[in-house]
Amino acid sequence: MRVLLVDDEQELVETLAERLNIRGIEARWATTGDAALERVDQENFDLAILDVKIPGISGIDLHKKMKAKYPGLKFIFMTGHGSHDDFTAGSAETGADYYLLKPVNIEELIDKMTKLMTK
């Protein structure tokens, strides 16, 4: 499974990517929308984990662009905002498969990823 992590906090995505790597999941990361799009073009990914707020572009827009190019790509959103209920309600609208609240629990993340991939 190849995963792309996008967040403006490099420290966060870097660490998260390493943690996933330790667990045998191949993870790459990007800190801007452009870098993320470039990455998607260069490599094949099964899953993208996006922050809702990325400098220059919103996670929702980025999701739309990627989805248009690579319809097979699956998505999980991360956000520092709001309550859980809101995002489960909101995900139906955006087509995002899952929302996660920061700080992310790694076990929860992997659990969601597995569920999403085996769907």
């Binding site: 906090e9 966060l12 660490t15 390493e18 943690r19 330790i22 520092g80 309550s83 700080p103 629990n105």
Partner: protein
Amino acid sequence: MKFLNRIKPEFWDHRIFSEGPYSSHFNFRRTWYAAVCLTSAVVLAPLIFMAVMDYRATRHDVESEILFTTSRLVSNTGRTLSYFLDERKSALDFIVHDNNFKLNVNPKRMEQVLENLKKSFGGFTDLGCIDHSGIQCVYAGPYNLAGKDYSDQEWYQQAVKRGEFISDVFRGFRHVPHIVIAVKYYPSEGGPFRVLRATLDTAKFTDLLSHLEIAGHGDAFIINHEGVLQTPTLFHGEILEKISLPIPDFAPETRVFEWVTEKGTPLVIGYRYITNTPFILMVVKQKEELLKSWESSRRELIGFLLISVAFILFVILWGATYLVNRIFRSDQKLIVSLHQVEYANKMASIGRLAAGVAHEINNPLAIINEKAGLMKDLFLFKKEYTGNEMLMGLLDSIITSVARCGRITKRLLGFARHMDVSIQSVHLGEVVREVLGFLNKEAEYRSIAISIEEADDIPLVATDAGKLQQIILNILNNAFAAMEDNGQLRISIRMAGEDRVALTISDDGCGIPETDLKRVFEPFFSTKTGKGGTGLGLSITYGLSEQIGGTIEVNSEVNKGTTFTVTLPFVAEEKENK
């Protein structure tokens, strides 16, 4: 006191909170005093001034009238008396100058003359002729006085000296009060002088005076120059006694003056010196009796004044109270709405601040979380690190703490998020729990037990969750303030009718006294004044619950606790204009 309390206007007990240059504008009691005093002064001063002027003018008129009538009465009576005496003196004059007057030799003739005098003039008692040695040689009259020696009598000496004389009233030989008129003459047949003497009865005088109609317990009498009464009086002494009033100073004309007796009775005294006699005519009236006629007009004037003043004062008091109360109420409304705006702004600022802080903290928290997670991963997956129990424990504690921080920021964000949105569907129990989250720590420290009873069938409520949060937070804050440590807080959520839900929050705190219960939602009503209470919390809560179409009720029992019940419609009737 009860009545006063009932009519006491709202602003009366209003305390001034604001200090500063314009705080006097909010001293409504002072405004009221100023309005009442100024208006009263402007209206009543001219009225009272006019009334006093009128009173004095009328009184002056009445007094002048009294003096004038007294003076006229004295003048007229004095003239009559003067005429009475002059007439009799002239009669004697006429007799002595009659050539046929040979009285000294003919007592019969003397008696005839006396008889004639009695008939035509009246008042004569007897008639006698005294020779130059003072012996009465001829006498006609009821007393046997022929041969009496008058040479040492004063009237005789005066008559010899001045040619004629009118005496005071005296008793003389006969012991009956009488007046003597004496005329000196020289007999036509030649020889030394003789004196013709007539005695006048004082009854004529007395008659004359007693028939006067004198108002005001009046008294008319005659005194001589020494103040001895010449006629009887009603109130001022017996005949020939010394009068108790002062002897008035000589004046050629009639005079009137006022005098206050030793007993304090004011008198009006008119007098006249009767020319060529030793007599002074006096008319004495009691002033108070005379002023009685003036009493009724005075009563009318004072009555009119009092009724006018009472009516004016009533109108002024009512008007001032009404106006100041109106100003007070609109002022209160203004202040409350200003405070509500201020409160809303404050809450919004707090919300934004909380959201900002939460968001900012979230990212470093996430990094800490991941770094700690990575370290833990390394310990788990790399063999060289495994087995260090202590380090693992430390890492777990970091992760637990981060998770706790995460919950706090989530709660803050959740709270702030509601403020930006107007209407949203919320789960009432969730909102209560969210708000309680902020108070959990305090409840824990103070060992306050919180129980939530929630009916199963409560649907979502479409309302302004931000306002709902504030309502719940305010009520909970009040409950916490009222409760002792180890208190018990009961919250229940149940249906209230078909389209409403009721949230009940009961504490077992100090309770609210019956008298205060009606006023708890009034703005600025506070029992925590001076301890940081503004008295606005519940008033704002009331306003907020009205804005979302809810109602709020309070029940309380002193020392048992207070219950607030908020009833909300499932679909809010937004009342605020946005």
